[in-house]
Symmetry: C2
Subunit: 475 residues, 2 copies
């Protein structure tokens, strides 16, 4: 695809710079005076609000309730689950003073809120009648990262974190898998992003979990992105926090828990899966502007009126913006392409004469002339078609960028040249996984649910192997 915007780097030459350029030029975010943090600008935040709306509805439909826990965790609470504190202590921000007074106990800003939910559940759950608890919260969390990139890795990010408590081990596992499906639907049906879903290895699982499940998206540069995870805790946290309930036989039992989250990291995925050399490309479902109307020769009689009339009409079926500013049409075209607006509608004096307009698709650059009498169904169909086309393109790239390897040197060669996902058999030994990490600088993305036997022996040690694992270099 030809690069029509000079202001941003070429994605094929400098992907990292291209990414940063898109984030800023599309006005998604800006660097903040607070180091390692970003400002979510109106256009970027509006995308996040649309993602939130979709997911929040799904979570409520499935019986989840929103709550809000404090942002500060007392140090003694963070320390109650051993693996959890080991995983998070190195990267939390500590509050030590309130006003001018030194505090008797430090508080950390939540890096995640398992400990707060557990502490609440320990008091709030008494009987089997109180179960399940299906709580979710929308908030920001903080992790004191050294190197940061907008949306992908930041000291503060926005997310939802679900924390549930159930009567049995089967139920908490079922919940972790059910939410993974909801996330995967969000990925494919809303964000037009194909995914690989599976289980994390022991090495890659969440600090404190029994098992972690993930959906992984492949970025345009062949790198992997863990877009969201769900965790089954079994009764590990319940035992650490003493969360018990009286069952129907009047016996004390520990609850079984899950937690799960997706974050503004999804914004990074959208940019890197769909974007091109003209900037952002947004899936229609989360585009703050789905159709932008650009009047041509707006000074001519009737053009502005007709544009306004079309905007009023189309606002009933789509998020529609009319740009009546005094910039030249060509500038507007480039600006809304940069912002990834799925459809541009051009209308000028000649179009009005012929009772038609021109629709330009952001994803294919295709332009079609549409009779105004047929405009609404055409727009609805075209938005659906754009979603499908974005998904298909990304799916094709995912397939083309997925390779298999029978030995470690091949794996390394592939990663050094074409990148992408690598399917390889693994014996299950941590030392083999570690060698891949050290020698091929790749991590196990997941043990996909959709297994496929690409060999019989471990890609590292050559011993018999049952599991096919997806490996890759990741953000």
């Amino acid at each position: 695809m030809e690069k029509r915007v000079e202001a941003i780097a070429d994605m094929n030459q400098d992907f990292a710079q291209w990414y940063t350029d898109v984030v800023r030029k599309a006005e998604l975010a800006e660097y903040a005076e607070t180091g390692g943090c970003i400002i979510y600008k109106p256009y970027g935040y509006a995308i996040w609000e649309l993602i939130q709306k979709h997911l929040d509805e799904k979570l409520k439909e499935t019986g989840h309730e929103n709550v809000y826990m404090p942002m500060l965790i007392p140090e003694h609470l963070l320390q109650m689950e051993k693996d959890h504190i080991e995983g998070f202590a190195p990267e939390v921000a500590w509050v030590t003073h309130g006003g001018t007074e030194k505090l008797q106990e430090r508080f950390c800003i939540r890096p995640t809120s398992e400990t707060l939910f557990c502490s609440h559940y320990a008091k709030d759950i008494q009987s089997y009648r109180d179960l399940p608890k299906l709580y979710n919260q929308w908030c920001s969390v903080m992790r004191w990262e050294k190197t940061t990139r907008p949306f992908l890795r930041g000291r503060e990010f926005l997310w939802q974190e679900g924390h549930t408590a159930h009567a049995t081990a089967e139920e908490s596992l079922a919940e972790a898998l059910k939410i993974l499906d909801i996330y995967c639907d969000l990925s494919s049906e809303v964000l037009a992003m194909p995914y690989i879903k599976g289980q994390k290895t022991e090495r890659e699982k969440f600090a404190g979990a029994v098992s972690t499940y993930t959906f992984e998206n492949l970025m345009h540069d062949g790198k992997a992105l863990q877009s969201g995870t769900t965790h089954d805790f079994g009764d590990k946290f319940a035992k650490a926090f003493g969360i018990q309930y009286l069952d129907k036989n009047n016996k004390q039992q520990y609850v079984h828990q899950s937690s799960w989250g997706v974050s503004t990291r999804l914004m990074g995925a959208i940019i890197m899966v769909h974007g091109d050399n003209n900037g952002l490309v947004l899936p229609p479902a989360i585009a703050p502007i789905q159709v932008v109307i650009v009047p041509i020769a707006a000074h001519k009689e009737g053009v502005t009126e007709k544009s306004q009339q079309l905007q009023a009409q189309l606002s009933k079926i789509a998020r529609c913006k009319l740009d009546t500013s005094d910039k030249k049409p060509g500038w507007k075209f480039a600006e809304y392409e940069m912002k990834g607006v799925p459809l541009r509608l051009e209308i000028g004096p000649k179009d009005i004469e012929q009772n038609q307009c021109v629709l330009a698709r952001r994803d294919t650059s295709e332009k079609i002339t549409v009779p105004l009498d047929n405009l609404e169904p055409t727009i609805t169909e075209t938005l659906n078609s754009i979603h499908q086309n974005l998904y298909n393109k990304a799916q094709k790239r995912l397939q083309e960028s997925t390779h298999t390897a029978q030995d470690l040197p091949t794996m390394k060669t592939i990663l050094d040249t074409t990148a992408g996902h690598i399917k390889a058999m693994w014996c299950g030994a941590d030392e083999c996984e570690l060698r891949i990490k050290e020698e091929a600088t790749a991590t196990s993305r997941c043990i996909p649910f959709n297994q496929e036997k690409v060999g019989n022996t471990c890609v590292v040690c050559n011993k018999p192997a049952e599991k096919m694992v997806i490996w890759g270099r990741a953000y």
Copy 2:
């Protein structure tokens, strides 16, 4: 009104205890392990979500855009506006360590975000074309309070904070007044709470503002509550932060700014304006459950089916819940009264036989028998009538609890006996205001826009006075 629930304190005997009882028994919030902070439970958070939805729509309709700024403010940034740092420094929480490292510069958790918005605007605004900026953010803020009460005063609370930048002084003032009107509409039309609106005195205005505007609600115990404020900053922050734009004549000009916010404090207002000895009473517009269906003799043939059918039918016009649990109807009645559900629908075998049901109003305890054929319009009308009745009752109380005073001893006597709002003339001198604060332990609530000459001389010094001020003891 007779007190039908034994589990909560009598509001006329111990209002503070009644308040805490309602917060907990209605399952709005619970104390958190993090001192001074609360957990917003599902029912409480659902009310907040409904308030957010109403206000967010109004703000978007009037051209405001949501953004998100970092939760941490670098110390040097907080210090840039002199009055602002003096006002907030004593009550901020300080982050001094990231992981195991001591930070070179401290960060405070935002007590409010003027400084972050100003720092962003200084970079982002260049030309008159960039104005106005009408930004809003939904977030939580932290103030290290010593004494806390759920919703009313807490270390962390949820709110929205708007921060706008304009070309002229007239525009920033107009914005502060326009938002005050939006807040007042929220108070009366959504929350059924009458209000007094006006300007804060110099002593009571926001740290760094040129002028502060407020809407004040009167609680059931005669104490005042500042429910929300808007501030005109003029160019004070613009000069401190160097926020300038090039005007149409190519001259550098300082912007003029406003900020404004309402918080989960509104939840406290709702409880204390409408609640009674049976618990919470919710205005229908923000009731998570507007109609609860309680089947009578649910084991009898057809009752459960009919209840389910009614729930499906009514869910189209109201937020409707069916309680099919095995608790006795009487228990359910008390539970949903405690939770302030505006309407209860009872249906049993005899009702079904006669094609009718019983509706019980939470606000008046009135029960009416309604033919099922006429159910939908009756429910819509009754919900409207409940809103109006709640407003009228609160309005009557506000009028009856508003007194006038011509001298300081009278003011003190009134406050010590009946409490309420006191109208009194004020000369404008800070020392007179201070004497009222010290001798009558009352603060100026506002200089109401709706002025009324209740005398000619200052209630303290007896010098000529032009301004009528509302005074009161406040939360």
